[in-house]
């Protein structure tokens, strides 16, 4: 009886500890795509990005504004995806031609505030199926038969046209102009070196190049002296660097892939002789992994070591 009482008291005493553990460890999320630490969206700001008139089209009614609480009313069935990707708010404007007699929209403009640039880019990359390019000036996005999608700072913008006469590119450029200079520059992008013409930038959510353990990767493809090089980066916010490095080593050994390594300050450079990828390099910084494939030489590696570390 005494023992039982003591045991019960012990359990009761442990409850706060269990609660703390559940609070800190039980709420797992993908840190590459979700940041909960941002300020609430300023709805007025997002709404003001949709003008009364744009390139000969008039706003129909009012701009509609959505938050996490009512996003499902607009993005029915897909709201969870957006929220899990960091969604803050959405402003929607429907426009038709100034001379139109109908009240049906010719173009719908969705401006998603995704909180962080990387989160906006993650959505864009998912929606594109991986085919991103610079569509207007330096705006990264994709063009489909149904419209144009792009990111600017932490905004993901989707234009959907309902007739062929809508000047989507001009509208996209105007919206980008209204958003202005990206207030939240993509920090991961800034760590990718300026080594040539940027051909494409992709976000790969899982199994990069077929490797099951490499997820949440940003890859940029460059054209350098007529050749192509791809540089990928995984930051500590997107995945555990030590775990991924160990997984690479295990994969190299199990696959019989030869590699050598060299330490420099707080980074390690692996040179890999890969039968499928060719010769490539992996640089392990304390806070990121950077890989280099294709037409890149030691000059580029030096640049990476100098510029891409913490």
């Amino acid at each position: 009886m005494t023992l039982s009482f003591a045991y019960r008291m012990l359990l009761i005493g442990l409850l706060p500890l269990i609660a703390v553990l559940l609070y800190s460890e039980g709420q797992r999320y993908d840190p590459a795509l979700i940041r909960f630490d941002q300020l609430p969206s300023d709805g007025d700001t997002t709404t003001r990005l949709l003008p009364e008139r744009i390139e000969g089209f008039n706003l129909l009614g009012n701009v509609r504004f959505y938050t996490k609480d009512n996003l499902y009313e607009y993005v029915n069935g897909h709201a969870e995806y957006f929220i899990s990707a960091g969604f803050i708010s959405l402003a929607v404007g429907e426009y038709n031609a100034s001379n139109a007699s109908s009240t049906e929209p010719d173009v719908i403009i969705d401006i998603y505030d995704m909180g962080k640039s990387i989160q906006a880019f993650g959505v864009l990359s998912d929606e594109s199926g991986g085919s991103l390019s610079d569509i207007i000036g330096s705006l990264t996005g994709f063009i489909s038969p149904a419209g144009i999608s792009f990111t600017s700072g932490h905004y993901y913008v989707k234009l959907s046209a309902y007739n062929d006469t809508v000047p989507l590119q001009a509208i996209a450029a105007r919206i980008a102009g209204l958003i202005g200079e990206a207030s939240d520059p993509f920090p991961e992008f800034s760590r990718l070196p300026d080594i040539g013409i940027v051909a494409a930038t992709r976000f790969i959510k899982e199994a990069y190049r077929g490797l099951d353990f490499v997820n949440n990767v940003i890859e940029r493809e460059y054209v350098i002296n007529g050749g192509r090089a791809q540089i990928f980066i995984v930051t500590k916010e997107m995945g555990d660097i030590d775990t991924m490095t160990e997984a690479f080593m295990k994969y190299f050994r199990q696959s019989g892939i030869e590699f050598s390594s060299m330490h420099r300050k707080d980074s390690t450079v692996y040179t890999i002789s890969d039968p499928y990828e060719g010769d490539w390099s992996l640089i392990v910084f304390p806070d990121s992994l950077v890989g280099v494939f294709g037409a890149a030489d030691d000059t580029i590696l030096n640049k990476l070591l100098a510029e891409s570390g913490p």
Binding site: G129, S131, S144, E206, L211, G256, M262, H263, T271
Partner: protein
């Protein structure tokens, strides 16, 4: 200076060599490989029984891995993301005559991008030549008229697309130019799949058919397979995972996918199957079925899967309920896109394709008559599934 010389030259001040070549090739030899090849109809081309559907191809290196594992047949299309481009990147490392490449008469836009009835001969030739350019090859072994039975519920209309003179003339021109070797046709329904493929087999124009084929549907398929074999038309199976409701499903340690593949490949008329492979672990798992016999344990695995998912899987190629909707909703296509969205995790492609579908399931939301209920021969709750599919696939309501 090449990158391999980077370390030797120690060009970075302060660098120290800490490692040397560490690994030896051993484990690689233990990885599953293709064990069986079969001739495709009477083409003289022998394909690996487990072959690569490149709809989710992650890189050119995966093509090389697959070839190293013995896979020699690659099914691609212009609208399969960067698939053709990746094949093109791998091409410099490939002995072209050792692999078989199949693509589609198709544009690179989102599905459904297959050239419709009314397309001109030049459109077909341009589409095929654009594929060859992307893949950096002089020829493709097969060019498919893809997804027959999908663009119209009318069998007659789809037969016209199947036997379109413009397409056939384009194929002749491409063949004479050495750019396409054989003509093929595929179908996952939803309408008249077996009948249309049978027409293709009997027409004498096609060297290969690719039906959706798995253990959970298609009662008329055996007749089609039999006639294809008699006429020496090749058969490659797709959609073999029966909806891929749970790719990690296993039964008492027996993984689902290899059991499914062995079931498909036990049919002597089937030359091989194509399956989407997105990672090395997928490839290893799938290749474990190559050349293996279908066993009683495999059958138990399939039985358990069928029992678990029989009320959730809309059988690809079946269209029994299609005519029941007075509003003409594209039931089977909607539910197939839902399968891409939920089970294949191809959300973007599914949403885009649904947006372009004429008869969406939006009408199901307010439907009171629910005429489709009770029409599914497999007992699926069609109306509620359509409403859920519309929810999933609609970005703009």
């Amino acid at each position: 200076m090449k990158r391999r010389d980077f370390l030797k030259a120690s060009v970075i001040a302060g660098a120290s060599i800490a490692g040397t070549p560490l690994a030896a090739r051993s484990a690689e030899n233990e990885k599953p490989k293709v064990k069986k090849y079969k001739e495709i109809g009477k083409t003289g081309l022998k394909m690996s029984d487990i072959s690569y559907g490149t709809g989710r191809l992650p890189s050119s290196s995966m093509i090389l891995r697959a070839i190293d594992a013995g896979i020699n047949y690659f099914d691609t299309a212009p609208d399969y993301g960067s698939s053709e481009k990746y094949i093109g990147q791998a091409m410099k490392n490939i002995q072209r005559d050792k692999i078989i490449i199949a693509s589609k008469f198709c544009s690179p836009y989102a599905y459904p991008s297959h050239l419709p009835l009314g397309s001109k001969k030049k459109d077909f030739i341009d589409a095929a030549e654009a594929s060859l350019s992307r893949m950096k090859t002089e020829y493709m072994d097969f060019c498919f008229v893809h997804a027959i039975g999908e663009q119209s519920k009318s069998r007659e209309k789809e037969e016209k697309r199947l036997l379109d003179e413009e397409m056939l003339s384009a194929f002749d021109t491409l063949k004479q130019a050495g750019k396409v070797r054989f003509l093929a046709v595929s179908s996952h329904g939803p309408d008249n799949m077996e009948a249309l493929l049978l027409t293709a087999v009997r027409s004498g124009h096609f060297n290969l058919i690719m039906p959706a084929f798995n253990f959970m549907s298609f009662p008329k398929i055996p007749d089609l397979l039999k006639e294809a074999k008699e006429r020496k038309v090749g058969v490659i199976a797709m959609k073999t995972l029966a909806g891929a409701k749970d790719v990690d499903f296993d039964s008492k340690g027996e993984p689902f996918a290899p059991a499914v593949f062995k079931w498909v490949l036990k049919h002597p008329e089937v030359n091989g199957l194509v399956i989407s492979i997105k990672s090395i672990s997928d490839m290893d798992l799938y290749l474990s079925a190559s050349g293996e016999k279908f066993t009683a344990a495999d059958q138990k695995t399939l039985d358990r899967y069928a029992k678990r998912f029989e009320k959730e899987y809309c059988r690809t190629g079946c269209s029994e309920c299609e005519s029941s909707c007075p509003e003409g909703v594209s039931i089977a296509t909607t539910l197939r896109l839902q399968m891409y969205f939920r089970d294949y995790r191809m959300e973007k492609k599914a949403i885009e394709s649904y947006a372009r579908l004429n008869a969406k399931a939006s009408k199901c939301v307010s439907c009171e008559t629910e005429d489709c209920s009770g029409e599914c021969p497999y007992g699926l709750p069609v109306s509620s599934m359509l409403r859920q599919a519309h929810d999933d696939l609609s970005l703009i309501v």
